[in-house]
C-alpha cells in the first residue's frame, strides 16, 4: 500500500511508487549492496553444499495445519501459543470461509505467563470447552508453538492427561510446530511422528508397504492402483484420511517416503521395526518410475512386471510432458528455500524439462532422505542450505534467472523488479506426484512464463 497518498493532494512530499511499476524491494535505503558471499561448504554425495545463516523468510511448522486439517477429516488442531500463532493461521487459511473450522489457538495471556493461572488447568478447561462444542472430533492434536516451548509447557504430558480424562473417546496427541524447531512442511513431519507410537502393531510375518507423507486423494488412489497391479501384498498410507484408520507397523513394514520432509517420522517408524526403502521422490516420469521400481524390488517383484504395469501411464505422461518441455527447455531457474521439495523438483525440471539450475536453496538438507536425489543432480550445482535473506536476494538479482521459485512474502516484490516468479506454496497444495501429474507439475512452472508473454502491460 505504498500508493495511499491521494493523487489530488496538493503538497506531496517525496513520491512513492504509485503502482509498483519499477518499484524495487531493495530500494528502501541507499542500497549498498555487495554480492552475497557464501561461506565454505561441505560435500553431500558429489555436491558442494553451502551453508547460510541469518534472516529467514519461511513459514513455521504451524502452516502444516492448513493442509493436514483437510487430509485427516476427524482431527482437530489446537495450537497452544500466542495471538501471533492465531494470526498466522487465519492469515493463511482465513480467506476460506469455515462454517466449522478444524483448528484453533489457545492464546496464552499474561496470567498464564506470570504463573497466576495454572497452564495445565487452563488447557484442560479450554479442551473441555472445545470438545463439548465439537463432539465429532476423533483425534485432537495439541500443537506447541514458540511461546509454549520457551515457557517449557509440557504438552506431551497434558495430552496423556487429557486422553485419560476423555476415557478413550478422543485420542489426544502433542507435537511441535514452532518456528524455533520447524520450517513449514516439517510441521507435517512432527505431526506424523506423534502418530507413530499409537499405530497398531502389524501382525507377525506380515509384509506391507507403507507410503509416507500427505498426498492429494486422487494421487493416493493412482498409487494404490499401481501398487495393487504390481501385487504388493498389503498397502497403507500415513497420514490416513481418518484418525480412526491408522495403518499398522512392524518388522515386516517397508517404508516408502512420498515427500522429502518426513525424516523424523521415518526414523520413528524404523524404531518400530520398519525398513526404509531409499528412493528418489515420485516427481516426473523418471522419479515416479524409480520410486515404484525400488519399492517393487523390495518386494521381489520383477523389473519386467514393473515395466508392464507402469508403461501405459509413463507413455501418456511423456505425451503430456512434451507440450511443456518445449517451453521450459533452456530456461534458467532459482529456488529460494521453503519446503524441501526444492531438490527433487529441481532434478525433475533439469532432467526432464531441460531447465538450467542457477541456485537451489533448501531450508535444511536431510541427507538420509535425499541420498537418491542428490546422485541425480549436476555436480556443479550451487546448492545452499539455510538462508541469509538479503544476501540471497543480492545473488538472485545478480543471476536474474528466467524463473524464481519463492514464497508469497517475496513473489510480488520480485515481480515488481521484473523477475518472473512461481510461488512455492502452490507446490505443496497441488496434485504434483506421479505419472499422471507430471505434465501438471511442469505446467505450474510454465504458467507464470506464459502469463508474462500474454499480458500487454
Amino acid at each position: 500500500m505504498t500508493d495511499m497518498r491521494s493523487r489530488s493532494q496538493a503538497k506531496a512530499s517525496p513520491a512513492c511508487a504509485a503502482n509498483g511499476l519499477g518499484a524495487g524491494i531493495g530500494d528502501q535505503g541507499a542500497g549498498q549492496l555487495s554480492a552475497g558471499q557464501l561461506g565454505a561448504g561441505d560435500l553431500a554425495g558429489n555436491l558442494q553444499v553451502q551453508h547460510e545463516q541469518g534472516q529467514r523468510q519461511v513459514f513455521c511448522g504451524l502452516a502444516g495445519i492448513v493442509w493436514l486439517h483437510r487430509k485427516i477429516q476427524d482431527a482437530f488442531f489446537l495450537v497452544v501459543g500466542s495471538r501471533t500463532c492465531a494470526h498466522l493461521l487465519q492469515s493463511a487459511a482465513g480467506v476460506m470461509i469455515f462454517a466449522e473450522p478444524r483448528f484453533a489457538t489457545a492464546v496464552l495471556g499474561d496470567r498464564d505467563l506470570a504463573g497466576l493461572a495454572d497452564c495445565n488447568e487452563e488447557l484442560d478447561r479450554v479442551v473441555t470447552e472445545l470438545l463439548a462444542r465439537r463432539p465429532d472430533i476423533g483425534t485432537l492434536f495439541l500443537v506447541a508453538s514458540c511461546p509454549s516451548e520457551v515457557i517449557k509447557l509440557d504438552l506431551e504430558n497434558a495430552a496423556e492427561r487429557l486422553a485419560r480424562a476423555q476415557q478413550g473417546r478422543v485420542r489426544v496427541l502433542a507435537y511441535s510446530g514452532s518456528g524455533l524447531d520447524t520450517t513449514f512442511t516439517q510441521g507435517e513431519d512432527t505431526c506424523l511422528s506423534a502418530l507413530v507410537p499409537v499405530l497398531p502393531e502389524a501382525a507377525a510375518g506380515s509384509d506391507a508397504l507403507l507410503v509416507l507423507g500427505t498426498l492429494p486423494d486422487v494421487v493416493e488412489d493412482q498409487f494404490r492402483r499401481l501398487f495393487e497391479a504390481l501385487g504388493i501384498p498389503s498397502l497403507h498410507f500415513l497420514p490416513p484420511r481418518r484418525g480412526s484408520e491408522l495403518p499398522p507397523v512392524g518388522p515386516g513394514t517397508r517404508l516408502l517416503a512420498a515427500q522429502p520432509f518426513v525424516g523424523d517420522t521415518a526414523a520413528a517408524l524404523i524404531d518400530r521395526g520398519a525398513t526404509l526403502i531409499a528412493a528418489p521422490y515420485p516427481f516426473g516420469i523418471e522419479g515416479t518410475r524409480a520410486w515404484i521400481g525400488v519399492a517393487a524390488e523390495a518386494f521381489g517383484i520383477s523389473a519386467e512386471r514393473v515395466e508392464a504395469v507402469t508403461a501405459p501411464a509413463a507413455k501418456r505422461a511423456a505425451v503430456g510432458l512434451e507440450r511443456y518441455r518445449a517451453q521450459l527447455a533452456g530456461k534458467r531457474i532459482s529456488f529460494l528455500p521453503d519446503s524441501q521439495l526444492e531438490i527433487p523438483l529441481a532434478r525433475f525440471l533439469q532432467r526432464e524439462c531441460g531447465m538450467e539450475l542457477v541456485e537451489v536453496g533448501v531450508p535444511y538438507l536431510d541427507r538420509r532422505m535425499m541420498g537418491a536425489e542428490l546422485d541425480w543432480l549436476p555436480a556443479a550445482l550451487r546448492l545452499t542450505e539455510g538462508q541469509d535473506l538479503e544476501r540471497q536476494l543480492d545473488r538472485l538479482r545478480a543471476d536474474r534467472p528466467d524463473l524464481t521459485v519463492c514464497g508469497l512474502g517475496l513473489a510480488n516484490p520480485l515481480e515488481a523488479e521484473g523477475l518472473t516468479t512461481k510461488w512455492s506454496i502452490e507446490l505443496v497444495f497441488s496434485p504434483v506426484h506421479g505419472f499422471d501429474q507430471a505434465a501438471d507439475l511442469a505446467e505450474l512452472f510454465v504458467r507464470p512464463l506464459n502469463r508474462r508473454e500474454r499480458l500487454a502491460f
Binding site: 495471556g109 515488481a416 499422471d436
Partner: protein, 529 residues
C-alpha cells in the same frame, strides 16, 4: 488461556509493522523467531504491495537460544541499518522475543546510529494490533517532534487556505487508500488544504511538518486518537472528531471542520453529491424496511454503520458490538441510542453465540463474521477489518464521504439480493439454472449453470439420452465405468464438466465404448489442462 477460533486483531508488533510499512524511510527491526515473517504476506498478498514491508526479523531458532541472542539482535541491527539506511528506526519484539528479555530497543539506542531510534514497548500478551499501531505512531511522532515549539498560525493573516493533517490511515487499514482520496476531495470542496497524511504515505521528514497544519483530522481513532490528543496538548492543534462514514456523518464532519477551521462549509455540504438518499428512498428499497441487522467490527466503523443502518437505510439494529475495548465507552453510548446493549468482546465464540441467538437477517461485520454468517446461513457484508484479499479491491471503493455512501449502499444491499435468490432456491429446488450445487463460499449463492456443473447422471440412472455440446448423438456417447465415474468426481467441480466432455470426445473419436479410469487419464494427457 483463551480458546481462539479466529482473532479479530493480530499481535501488537503487527501494528508496529503496519506503521513502518505505511511510511517511507522508516525501517522496523523485530526480535522474533523464524516463521514470524509470515506477516510480510499480509502486505505482499492481501494488500498486494509491490514492495516488501520494511521489516527485518532476527529469525532466531532453537539452536540460537543456547547462544547469545542479544548478539544476534546487535548483528541484525547493524546489518539492517547499513543496508537500508533508514531515516527512522523502530525496534521492538514479537511475543516470543518478549519472553527472552534481550531488550533490543535498549541495545539499539546504545549502538550510536545516526538516525532516530524509536524503542517500542509492545506487551504481546495483554495488548493487540490496533493498540500496537497507535502506540508506535504516537512514539514515532513524539520522538521526531521532540524540542519543537507550537506555532502561531493564522490562515487569514497569511493569505492562505486552512491546512489539515489527515491522521490514522495505515497499510492494511480497511479502505484507507480510497478514504484518503475521498476526504482530501471533501476538504478541498470546503476550502481546506491537506498539509500531510500520516502515517500512510509520509516520511520522517513529513512528520516534522505536522505542526505546520492548523488542525488535525482523526480519520481512524483506533490508530490516531492518542496522537491527536498529544498534539493538541503540545502544539495546541484542535482536532476533528467526527468520522465521515455515511451521509449524515459526512455532513456533520463538514460542519465540525467549519467550526474548527473558522470557515463556512455550508456551500460544500449543499454541493455534496451522493446517490444513497435517492436509492434508499426508491420503492425498490421498501423491502429493506425494518430488516434486522447485527453489526460488529472496530469501534469507529460499527458506530458509523449503526447510524447509516437506522437513519439512512431504515434497518433495525438488533445487536451491536466491537472488539475495540479501548472505545468501550463510545460503543455503549452508541448502543444505547439504538436501544440495544453493546457486546464488547474479542471472543469470536461469544460473537457467534450472539448472532445465532439474535438470528438477524443481515450481518455487517468483519471477515470473521463471514464464517458465522455462513454457518448460520445469513447474508453478510464486510464493514471493518480484519479483512482478506477481496476487501483490498482494485476499483475505487472508499467508505468515507459522499462516494463512500454510494459504495456502502451497494455493498450492504447486495447480499440481501443474493438472500432472496437463496429463498427461491429453497422453495423450488429442481430449477436447472438455480440449484445448490457446489456454491463458492464467498459468493453465498448458486452461481453454477448446468453447463459448468457436472450434472450428468450416473451410469445406472441414465433415463434420457443426452446430446453433448459438439452435437454428437447420445447413442454414440461412450458409457462410463462406475470406477471412472468415481474418479471423475475427484476432479474439482469447476473443471469436472470439461474433463467429462473431453474424455467422451476422446473415447468417441477412438471408438472406445466403455470409459475406464485409464481412458480418463489418456484423454487428460492428450488434451492437457
Amino acid at each position: 488461556m483463551q480458546l481462539t477460533v479466529w482473532t479479530y486483531e493480530g499481535p501488537p508488533h503487527m501494528g508496529a509493522i503496519r506503521i513502518a510499512a505505511s511510511m517511507q524511510g522508516v525501517h522496523c527491526v523485530l526480535h522474533a523467531p523464524q516463521g514470524d515473517s509470515y506477516a510480510d504476506l499480509l502486505f505482499t498478498m492481501i494488500a498486494r504491495s509491490a514492495k516488501r514491508p520494511p521489516v527485518t526479523y532476527t529469525s532466531f531458532q532453537a539452536r540460537d537460544l543456547g547462544a547469545d541472542t542479544a548478539e544476534l539482535v546487535r548483528k541484525t541491527l547493524r546489518e539492517t541499518v547499513e543496508r537500508f539506511q533508514p531515516r527512522a528506526l523502530l525496534v521492538g519484539e514479537a511475543c516470543t522475543g518478549e519472553l527472552l528479555q534481550d531488550q533490543p530497543a535498549a541495545l539499539a539506542q546504545g549502538m550510536g546510529f545516526d538516525c532516530p531510534v524509536v524503542p517500542l514497548e509492545l506487551p504481546a500478551f495483554t495488548r493487540k494490533e490496533h493498540w500496537g499501531a497507535s502506540e508506535t505512531f504516537h512514539q514515532l511522532v513524539r520522538t521526531l517532534l521532540r524540542g519543537q515549539q507550537p506555532r502561531t498560525l493564522d490562515p487569514v493573516a497569511e493569505g492562505r487556505r486552512p491546512r489539515a493533517n489527515l491522521l490514522g490511515a495505515t497499510a492494511l487499514g480497511f479502505r484507507c487508500r480510497d478514504d484518503i482520496a475521498e476526504v482530501t476531495k471533501l476538504l478541498d470542496s470546503a476550502g481546506v488544504d491537506v498539509n500531510l497524511s500520516a502515517p500512510a504515505g509520509a516520511s520522517p521528514e513529513d512528520l516534522l511538518r505536522i505542526p505546520e497544519a492548523d488542525f488535525n483530522v482523526c480519520l481512524y481513532p483506533e490508530i490516531a486518537q492518542s496522537t491527536c490528543v498529544w498534539l493538541e496538548r503540545m502544539f495546541k492543534q484542535p482536532w476533528v472528531k467526527t468520522v465521515p462514514i455515511g451521509v449524515g456523518a459526512t455532513r456533520d464532519f463538514l460542519i465540525e471542520v467549519g467550526e474548527v477551521a473558522g470557515i463556512d462549509t455550508s456551500a460544500a455540504i449543499a454541493a455534496g453529491r451522493t446517490r444513497l438518499p435517492w436509492f434508499s428512498r426508491s420503492v425498490d428499497s421498501t423491502y429493506l424496511t425494518g430488516k434486522r441487522v447485527f453489526i460488529f467490527g472496530d469501534a469507529s466503523h460499527v458506530i458509523a454503520a449503526a447510524r447509516i443502518a437506522t437513519e439512512e437505510l431504515g434497518f433495525e439494529v438488533v445487536g451491536l458490538g466491537s472488539y475495540s475495548r479501548e472505545f468501550a465507552r463510545e460503543l455503549r453510548a452508541a448502543a444505547e441510542r439504538h436501544g440495544v446493549e453493546a457486546l464488547i468482546s474479542d471472543d469470536y465464540l461469544e460473537v457467534e453465540a450472539a448472532v445465532l441467538e439474535l438470528a438477524p437477517e443481515l450481518v455487517l461485520g468483519t471477515q470473521m463474521e463471514r464464517h458465522i454468517a455462513k454457518r448460520a446461513g445469513i447474508p453478510c457484508a464486510v464493514i471493518s477489518s480484519p479483512v482478506h484479499v477481496q476487501d483490498f479491491p482494485a476499483r475505487y471503493a472508499p467508505q468515507m464521504g459522499f462516494e463512500g455512501a454510494n459504495v456502502i449502499f451497494d455493498t450492504w444491499v447486495h447480499p440481501l439480493m443474493m438472500g432472496l435468490e437463496e429463498h427461491l432456491i429453497t422453495m423450488f429446488r429442481e430449477d436447472e439454472e438455480f440449484n445448490d450445487e457446489a456454491v463458492a463460499s464467498h459468493l453465498g449463492s448458486g452461481k453454477l449453470t448446468a453447463a459448468s456443473a457436472d450434472t450428468a447422471p450416473g451410469p445406472a440412472t441414465t433415463a434420457e439420452p443426452t446430446t453433448s455440446a459438439d452435437g454428437m448423438g447420445a447413442d454414440a456417447a461412450p458409457a462410463w465405468e462406475p470406477e471412472a465415474e468415481r474418479e471423475l468426481k475427484k476432479i474439482p467441480f469447476f473443471v469436472r464438466g470439461k474433463a467429462r466432455r473431453n474424455t467422451e470426445r476422446y473415447a468417441a473419436e477412438r471408438g472406445v465404448a466403455r470409459i475406464t479410469v485409464e481412458t480418463l487419464y489418456d484423454a487428460k494427457a492428450y488434451f492437457g489442462r
